[in-house]
């Protein structure tokens, strides 16, 4: 081959410059896409009800009954037994569906895979591996129940004996 048929040679420095520019551009684009994807995982608007709320005076609750008053708004059941008031989370400990309170059978029953919980929150049927969680409940200065969902109590860790996990009445 003769020299004049060959394209103008690129200098070594020119080649490296181009290569660097190409890599920088490539990495920038990939990084941009990745950031976009990760950003996509976080919602633009987040509906977050306040984590603690007042739930009226203890007298609002009847002994032996499960109150579903705050189920939709805050995701809790408030139960009053003869000696105490406790607050149960409405999240099934199996996969997180919302069980229903069946008064006739005195149990919470999950519509997804059939887990059942007693009025105390203890699991007794179906696949749920542990009892429902309880939330912190105290009496506020104005005599109302003050429920704090940031603090939860798990039975299997022996936390239900914690004085904050129920309110003696």
């Amino acid at each position: 081959m003769s020299d004049d048929t060959q394209p103008t040679p690129i200098s070594r420095r020119g080649f490296i410059n181009w290569l660097t520019a190409a890599w920088v551009a490539f990495i920038a684009i990939v990084a941009g896409l990745l950031t976009g994807t990760v950003r996509f995982l976080f919602p633009n608007v987040l509906f977050e009800p306040p984590q603690s709320f007042r739930a009226g005076p203890p007298e609002d609750y009847t002994v032996g009954e499960v109150s579903t008053r705050f189920k939709n708004e805050f995701g809790v059941w408030i139960v009053r037994s003869t000696t105490e008031i406790y607050v149960l989370s409405t999240v099934c400990t199996h996969l997180g569906c919302t069980p229903n309170w069946l008064g006739g059978e005195q149990k919470f029953k999950c519509p997804c895979h059939g887990s059942g919980f007693r009025i105390s929150g203890v699991n007794f049927e179906g696949p749920a591996p542990r009892p429902l969680e309880r939330f912190k409940v105290t009496l506020a200065d104005d005599g109302q129940l003050l429920i704090d969902k940031t603090k939860k109590f798990q039975f299997e860790k022996g936390e239900w004996s914690n004085p904050e996990s129920f309110l003696a009445v």
Partner: protein, 367 residues
């Protein structure tokens, strides 16, 4: 009649019946094949047999539709495809088994399989493409008609504090949802589905024999076909059907002619193995440490996976083990044992109300 069918639909009974019938229809050993032949079950794989089976199924549905509860469930827009699925799975199983049986008969008389006699070739264009094109048009027409006549099962906007009762997964996940009834989420939702996929991928590496390949045949490959069909028909399709038609409010079982009563009382009290051992057997109450508490269950599970493979290699699977060697055999047996763990656990739940064999909520480990 309806009461009988409702009773038969109870999972423990229907599942047992299905398993028994399955192994007669898809015999896995020579002995079973002989029994199946003697019972003339392979007549099912003839035109007459197929038509009769179809007729029975259609009659059942037509008769069933006269019942209000049956009609409610079967014509629910979500469930219509599953009715189609029953017929389609049945038809394609029949179609392939029919050809397999013909070939087996021919080969039994020293002949060649059907596929060998047909040496003629057809062209992709136009022969194949035309067929595909017509299928495409028909499928589109079907979808149009379907979308016009059956209302889309739309519901109100999602609400995290309200789960519909019953809450059903899309139909193709109902098998998984059934598994979730018996197993912890990490097992039924992650480990088992992964293993199903891994297992499917592994099939060609394990089943390398060339007997009965290249054409439809049952006798030449009965173990392979029977094992696969057990997984596909019994553990997957049947569970989808159960999940669609027999699971009602609160995920209770309902017979096909039963009212879906959200307040149906089902007395269930599921007990862990540890509670059986310590509370009922030894009457000492549950020990505090999880290791002592769960040791029996752990032993059982370890035994299942550590002892059983060796035992089976010496007995039932002796031939297989010698032909396949350790690696291939071990992979196969682990997959098989995992697969069998599902029906085993289902029976334990139905018969003994067993919840978990090993239950360590401290570490989110439940088996």
């Amino acid at each position: 009649m309806k009461a009988t069918i409702n009773w038969l639909a109870d999972p423990a009974i229907s599942f047992t019946l299905i398993i028994l019938v399955f192994f007669l229809v898809f015999p896995i050993t020579d002995r079973l094949e002989k029994i199946s032949k003697r019972l003339k079950i392979d007549l099912l794989w003839t035109n007459t047999g197929g038509l009769i089976a179809l007729g029975v199924l259609v009659l059942f549905f037509v008769w069933g539709l006269t019942d209000e509860n049956f009609r409610l469930i079967v014509t629910k827009p979500d469930n219509v495809p599953i009715v189609g699925l029953i017929f389609l799975v049945g038809f394609f199983t029949w179609l392939s088994m029919k050809q397999a049986r013909e070939n087996d008969n021919r080969m039994g008389q020293g002949g060649q399989p059907l596929e060998a006699s047909d040496k003629s070739k057809v062209l992709v264009w136009p022969d194949l493409i035309y067929i595909e094109f017509i299928c495409l048009i028909l499928a589109t027409v079907l979808l149009f008609a379907w979308s016009i006549f059956v209302k889309a099962p739309l519901e109100e906007p999602a609400n995290p504090t309200l789960s519909p009762n019953p809450s059903k997964a899309p139909w193709y996940f109902l098998g998984l949802q059934e598994m979730l009834v018996y197993y912890d989420p990490w097992l039924a939702g992650i480990v088992l589905p992964t293993l199903i996929m891994v297992g499917l991928v592994a099939i060609p590496y394990m089943d390398t024999g060339d007997r009965g390949t290249g054409f439809y045949s049952y006798s030449g490959r009965k173990r392979a076909i029977s094992t696969f069909m057990f997984g596909f028909l019994v553990l997957w399709t049947f569970l989808i059907i159960v999940g669609t038609f027999l699971r009602g409010p609160n995920w209770n079982f309902f017979g096909p002619f039963e009212v879906w009563d959200a307040n149906k009382r089902v007395v269930l009290n599921n007990v862990n193995l540890s509670e059986y051992v310590y509370v009922f057997l030894l009457e000492t109450g549950l020990p505090r440490g999880w290791l002592i508490r769960e040791i029996w269950g752990i032993l059982l599970v370890v035994g299942y996976f550590a002892v059983l493979p060796g035992l089976l290699a010496k007995t039932v699977f002796r031939n297989l083990y010698e032909r396949w060697g350790t690696v291939r055999y071990s992979t196969f047996i682990v997959l098989l044992l995992m697969g069998m763990a599902l029906p085993i656990k289902m029976y334990m739940r139905w018969l003994f109300n067993l919840k978990y064999i090993v239950s360590i909520p401290e570490f989110f480990l439940n088996i």
